[in-house]
Amino acid sequence: MPVLLKQILSVSWIGLRSIPQRPWLSLATIFTIATVVTVLLAFLAMSEGFRQTLTGGGSESVVLVMRGNAEAELNSVLIRDQVALLNSAPGIAKKDGAPLVSPELYVVVDGKKRSNEAKVNLPLRGMNSEGIALRENVTLTQGRMFAPGRNELVVGESLLREFQGFDLGNIVRFGASDWKVVGIFSAAGSVFESELWSDLAGVQSQFNRGSTVQSVRMRLTEPSAIEDLRAYIANDPRLNVDVVTEKAYFAKQAEGTSDIILMLGWPLAIAMALGALAGALNTIYTSVATRSREIATLRAIGFSSTSAFFGTLTESLLLSLLGGLLGSILALLFFDGISTSTLGSSFTQVVFRFDLSARLLLNGAVFALVIGFLGGLTPAFRAARIPVASAFSDR
């Protein structure tokens, strides 16, 4: 082993063993860094969870058709003639000879949060059986599917978890009409689980929508068929509509909110990290000051100033690593998987779980090490510059 490396290792080891001489100061550094890392990870997990929930539901081979520039289903209106035109569009997959086309209505109804009774917007989607066939991973976990022509609801598991009054068998009142919950469904944790589903005709009549719908979902024969579809739409002036893949639609919907969370989270974490950095610098400077004689002695018996430099840096990095570890554990214990909801781009609640992936934990660890590195750098320079003579002076 090269001499320098050996020296660095032994100086580091001596430094690390002296940490218990400064127990409170060292613990304080670990705790402050842990707190900062926990806050950062909480925001990252929130943003990631929201994004996963939205993008997890989108398919590459399902397209969403809405009126031009509508941006969201809530804003869109399509009339019956347009739906009929879409039914005969090219590139659409068929099931039992019928094209897989699902005209859907997306209306907003009131619900109440279980946690604080806050009144919130929930989506009620009216559709036919094609709509359910178009969605992968949908399974009924309780009860049965809604029957056409009756005011019946099936409720997504996420929605049921966060909002009150939608248990199986309940009667729910929207305005002047009553609806019965006949089933609960899961959809692999995707955004569809934040919805109420019912029969299209029933929603159209109870919500005074005549024969209009808001969006049409269609399954393509293959993803590239979207080009044929676009050409077909461009050639028909009656079809003043936009076509996007479901995947692209959800990715765009995810963007806004998950970006806002990150835009709040990162600056907050960085500002807090600056505070923690000040604490770390304090600790490591104190460590260098109390050990200055020891360091000078090491220099006197032949250790290089480089080894003093790295020895000090190691102490800082170790403390920050422990802090990062503790912070990750706290975040995993308290934040990973917790369920919450917020207003999505469709102006309705999206239920999601905080998702603390390994990639995010790595982010937290790197963040902690950056604090540790910066916190150790200047004290390490000071340690490297301690004059050898100070080993022999009285004080």
Binding site: T35, N69, A271, A276, N282, T342, L343, F347
Partner: protein, 385 residues
Amino acid sequence: MTRGSLIWKNLTRSRLRFALTLFAIFIAFFLFGLIQSFDRALNAGADIAAANRLVVSNKINFTQPLPLSYVNRIKTIEGVDMVTHQNWMGSYYQEPRNFIFGFAVDPESFLAIYADDIALPPEQAKAFINDRRGMIAGANEARKYGWKLGDLIPISSNIWEQTDGSKTWELVLDGIFEISSVDTPANGIYLHYDYLNEARSFGKDSTGTIVIATQDPALNDEIANAIDTRFLNSPFATETRTEAAFNASFIEQLGNISLIIISVVGAALFTILIIVSNTMAMSVRERTGEIGVMKALGFPAKTVFALILSEALLLALIGGSLGMGAAWLMATVTAGVPGFPLRLVLYPDIWLMSLGVMIVLGLLTGLLPAWNAYRINIAAAFTRA
């Protein structure tokens, strides 16, 4: 040497340590000030709501329409002073990302009911009322997009299209308004409901929410009940709430923001509490010998206690004030940014609250070291030193 300078000398004996600790406190209070004002700005909608205003919306949800005829029917209810209504536009300028809060309104009743909140020069108000294709825009919006009075501005809607299929509404800027209260930026545009209603391809004769001013806030409940009962069994049942409750419901939809805010502020304060209390304890430990000397010289233990406690308080107050000052600066800077969505204001009670937190921080970090210094006897102090 006065007491004050003694405290100061002790505090700054290690310049570096003083600076670092001060900086940590600075950051925590900077965050404290900004986050508190952010919270306040988010809830500003509920603050500006007038006590005598009620909002009537569709009972299913406020995004569902109400028939326009309700406006006149509500006017006849006893105790109702003024009625106006607004229809959401889903508007943007040129590109969807330039999203604008836009409503189609009945200009005369709209300006009357919000006379205390919307500051618009009388001649501009008159021009707007008389110009069917006119609109008024918030000063913030006008500044952001460089709009001038008299400009013909194409406003797009992601909901309403004209009967010819166009989704762009050409509007004349007749007025630029400010919001009278300090904490709300003047955003948004308002256009004539009649113009929208006549030209739109669907949704005719429906509106979004109906706003009423009652003759007396004491009548609010009674009137709200009267309205909701009148429409209870119609296809468009209503829900009538105070304006404050209606505005607050938007923020509640975002999630438990106050919990997030309390947690983040709490975490930031917790970290500095750890940092500062350790630094204080260490700094007093290092001076054990000196404290012995002071006591030997005849300084009463009480004085020693007070000196150290004052040191901790002073540290918290200086760092905290600097942090709050920086937060104020930041808030002031953002107020000048055109299009900044929130108006951050550090209200007197936020300052007062921060002062309280500084004192608590000073006490928590100073009491134990001060008590140790108070207790230690001279002989022990000299041995330990």
